[in-house]
Amino acid sequence: MSEMNKAMIEQYRNSFLSEVEANVEEGEWVKMCMQCGVCSGSCPLGKHWAHPPQEIFMMIRAGKRDEVLTSDSMWMCTSCYNCIVRCPRQLPITHIMHGLATYAKKLGLTPKNQPTAKFAEIFWNNMMKKGRVNELKLGLSLYFKDGFGPGIKEALRNKDLGMKMMKAKRMAASEFFGGHGVKDVSGLQKMIKKAQELEDARMKKFD
């Protein structure tokens, strides 16, 4: 039996749905979707998504594991909460989208150079260093995320804004050198590490 055929037969089985229910934040809500499509119609960015939320839910139920987890759709969510407000079944759609994104990231299935995913990573690493976000470094990291050349270009483009922010004391150049952090950075890092361990232990394996 070919791999493709195997996959076909596995379609419409509950396995991927169970995986989502177990491992994705608010994943237990997915089965309650009644396919009305109000979320897809309400999403301001819906037309830019490869698969709007309604379709994502159907794909989960149809067992399309790879297609869902490697999709960049859930990364497109801007957390406007329109879908949550309108869902007649009151599904926490926004949270499910972020849950799916997190899970995909964890499994290493995030599409390459997905900007939202990249930003999230930069944000996390930046925050973990000192226990708080260093805005100057966060901005700079974003400018240089595609390499040195484009970084310089982007920095120059925004230089006026930067000067104004410095003048208004919204940004300090001194932050570039170390910057300030929380009192007990290593304590925080330990806490996060422990949380990560607990979550990894809870995560069920579906291979």
Binding site: M8, I9, Q11, Y12, R13, N14, L17, E28, W29, K31, M32, M34, Q35, Q54, E55, M58, M59, R61, A62, R89, Q90
Partner: protein, 771 residues
């Protein structure tokens, strides 16, 4: 003393509600006594109050008044106050039809007064042709209800009637009570989740519950007022409500004859035949089953897992094909949807979750998921919560094999897919268990050419003669002239207005309940049965007093005919929408009072005008037409006769006046019981008398009819198609006579139709027949 001399006519004119302010009451009084030739004319400033009504009652008691015209408000107002049944009585409407329909200005004063005078003349003419109606005494009180069908509908109807103190004869074709419900494993829950149940994936939602049929069967069997006949059918039903004679026969041929007051037909449904759906391969594998077979499979499982029929393997995946053979435009498939199939499949999918564990894949392939009823949405969520997968898809094909292969098109993902499952359940539709439609043969002929007609008739005869052809068995075996069973509306379901008068059928005293009337679930069928039982009880009491059933409830008048004038043409027996008229040995029509709804369709059908009611006849309406003053041609005041159905058109005109919509001063409105009672002679007479236009206002006809007598309005329309010949022979324009469908809500349109006729007359000129 001759009978005429005993009659004393009186008119009572109310001057309240502004009548006295708007009209010259002296002139009204004079019109009633001089033109109307009333023996007594009295005025009262508020006739409907105690004092006014007492005045009329005193005159009846002390002065021997036998006929009264009550001049004032519409016949639809103050009905209780003027509930006078011991004499002949009519109402003359000069409030809604005159003062409220016309503006209160000086230039309109004269035409408004003319209207009121005319209506008084008309009513005085009418009352002279009327007599006090009295019941025929054809039947007495018979407290026996016959219930045909021992399923959940029939048993509920039986219990309800029995609890109300009536005796019930419950006839069941098979050897056991319970019908389809007795075959079910569980039923769809009756109640929604309690108020306040959270909307979450772990909420406590309703689950399949016990059918409760065992309790119901023992309640029926233990009820002294219910006599159950198993393995029995109805071999003959004759008579009428209050005096039905019913032969109940067992398979072995033993027959009991019972006297019955009224009948509830609860013959239920059968499943659509899956053999007609080749794509689902029902015959190809024992693992492709119907929704009813699924119930048996669940019953067989006991406490263990559900196993598939072919090899007894525990089912690990099941797929439900929703709406199989339903909602289809293909011939031989059901054009409708049983509506409850989705609830049933959710219930059955939950059987698997319960018996075979959460790991059993249950997929419901639907197109439009519908879960009607109070618990519907909660039950849908209950299915989802428990892991039933719902896939909006078209199932294209089911192929047998070691496991079944289902090909489908997913309509959300817009792609073809293929699944392998252990079991496929087909959601088949409900086909009503009706007897043969008495009018099917006629309807097949509608709109055919003479040649096609001959061919069709030949085919019908051949079918009837062929011993091997499949014939629908009669259920009631009525020995009515118009067929053995209840007429159908569509797709074999019995004909009754599904909103306005749901349990009524076109055979008075026989009420349909449950899925023979329309597809429905247990809960709805039980409500339906209760409603039908109440109607059956009501009919027993009405028939006992000679009173009409819906819609002229309580009417004591009934049709009779002048034998010497009858030509035995049979038009009345054919056109009666309720099959109320049989044929006697001499081939004259034979009326069955309690089958009659008093619409007068027979009266309108009679070409020799020999059929009449005591208080409604060709002459009562004819007199109203004749007594209206027709102004001379040079007055330039046209007269428009409006024959308005009392059920919808007349109330619409009343309501128009109440709402301040003007009605043309040229209109003279005559209420009729049903447009079906309209005699062609009224039209001819009116035209000969010099009316300039005639509007006939009846209810909507056709499949989605609103006619309270089902076919009356359609009959009238057919007959009036011939009015063109009359107009031609009189050399009159065809626009002068129109037939319109008017609904009770047409309060702007109905007056506008009259105005349109007034405009037409202005264009084509007044009638040349003014004398």
């Amino acid at each position: 003393m001759s009978e005429v001399a005993e009659k004393k006519f009186a008119a009572y004119i109310c001057t309240g509600c502004g009548i006295g302010d708007r009209l010259d009451t002296g002139e009204l009084e004079q019109t009633a006594s001089r033109d109307g030739r009333m023996n007594v004319v009295k005025m009262h400033e508020m006739l409907c109050n105690k004092e006014g009504v007492q005045m009329i009652r005193d005159d009846i008691a002390n002065d021997g008044v036998t006929h009264a015209v009550i001049v004032g408000c519409s016949r639809r107002a103050k009905v209780e106050a003027f509930d006078i049944t011991d004499i002949a009585m009519t109402r003359c409407n000069i409030r809604e039809a005159v003062i409220w329909a016309r503006p209160d200005t000086d230039e309109n004063k004269k035409t408004t007064q003319e209207m009121a005078n005319d209506y008084i003349r008309m009513s005085c003419g009418e009352i002279k042709q009327m007599n006090k109606p009295s019941p025929s005494g054809q039947q007495g009180r018979n407290p026996n209800v016959l219930v045909v069908g021992g399923g959940v509908t029939g048993m509920t109807a039986a219990l309800e009637a029995a609890e109300a103190g009536y005796t019930v004869h419950l006839v069941e074709k098979t050897g056991a009570l319970g019908g389809h419900v007795a075959q079910l494993h569980k039923r769809v829950p009756f109640k929604a989740a309690p108020v306040g149940t959270p909307n979450s994936p772990d909420a406590n939602l309703p689950m399949p519950e016990d059918t409760g049929i065992a309790d119901m069967i023992s309640a029926v069997e233990g009820n002294d007022n219910i006599k159950v006949y198993l393995n029995s059918t109805i071999t003959k039903t004759s008579g009428a409500p209050g005096r039905f004679s019913v032969d109940i026969s067992t398979e072995s041929g033993d027959t009991t004859t019972e006297n019955i007051g009224s009948i509830v037909q609860a013959t239920g449904f059968k499943l659509y035949d899956p053999e007609n759906l080749p794509e689902f391969n029902y015959a190809g594998s024992p693992d492709i089953i119907t929704n009813l077979e699924m119930e048996a499979l669940a019953n067989a499982a006991g406490d263990g897992p559900i196993k598939r029929p072919s090899d007894g393997k525990e089912v690990t995946s099941v797929l439900f094909v929703q709406d199989a053979g339903q909602n289809s435009s293909d011939e031989d498939r059901l054009p409708y949807d049983s509506g409850i199939g989705d609830l049933v499949s959710i219930k059955q999918a939950l059987y698997f979750k319960h018996h075979n564990g959460d790991g059993c894949d249950t997929t419901i392939c639907y197109n439009n998921l519908r879960t009607p009823g109070a618990p519907g949405e909660d039950f849908y969520r209950s299915g989802q919560k428990n892991g039933v997968i719902f896939t909006k898809s078209d199932v294209k094909e089911v192929t047998p094999g070691d496991s079944l292969t289902v090909k489908m098109h997913d309509k959300i993902l817009d792609e073809d897919a293929e699944v392998k499952v252990d079991l496929v359940v087909l959601d088949l539709g409900m086909v009503p268990n009706s007897g043969p439609d008495p009018y099917a043969a006629n309807e097949a002929l509608e709109g055919m050419s003479d040649e096609e007609r001959a061919e069709e008739l030949e085919a019908q005869e051949a079918h009837a003669a062929d011993e091997n052809s499949i014939k629908v068995e009669s259920i009631l075996n009525l020995d009515y002239r118009q067929g053995t069973d209840l007429p159908h509306l569509k797709h074999g379901f019995t004909d009754s207005h599904f909103i306005c008068f749901p349990y009524e059928t076109r055979r008075t005293g026989i009420y349909a309940a449950g899925p023979v009337r329309r597809p429905m679930d247990i809960r709805q069928a039980m409500d339906d049965a209760t409603g039908a039982a109440m109607k059956a009880i009501q009919e027993i009491e009405n028939a006992a007093q000679g009173r009409a059933a819906h819609p002229r409830v309580g009417d004591l008048s009934y049709p009779s005919f002048r034998k010497e004038g009858c030509t035995q043409c049979k038009r009345c027996t054919v056109e009666c929408p309720f099959g109320a008229i049989d044929e006697d040995e001499e081939r004259y029509p034979q009326y069955n009072e309690s089958r009659c709804r008093r619409c007068g369709t027979c009266m309108g059908a009679c070409p020799v005008r020999v059929i009449s009611f005591e208080n409604y006849s060709v002459n009562t309406v004819g007199a109203q037409i004749k007594e209206c003053d027709i102004p001379e041609e040079w007055d330039e005041k046209p007269r428009i006769l409006v024959l308005a159905c009392e059920n919808d058109a007349y109330p619409a005109l009343d309501q128009a006046a109440i709402s301040g919509v003007e009605i043309s001063p040229w209109a003279r409105v005559v209420p009729v019981r049903c447009l079906g009672s309209t005699s062609l002679s009224w039209v001819t007479d009116a035209l000969n008398n010099g009316y300039d236009g005639i509007i006939m206002m009846g209810c909507k006809r056709g499949d989605d009819y609103q006619c309270h007598f089902v076919r009356g309005s359609a009959m009238a329309n057919e007959r009036m198609a011939k009015v063109g010949d009359t107009l031609e022979s009189l050399n009159l324009e065809p626009e002068r006579v129109v037939v319109e469908e008017v609904a009770i809500t047409d309060i702007d349109r109905a007056p506008q139709l009259i105005q349109d006729m007034a405009d037409t007359i202005e264009k084509i000129g007044l009638s040349p027949f003014k004398f």
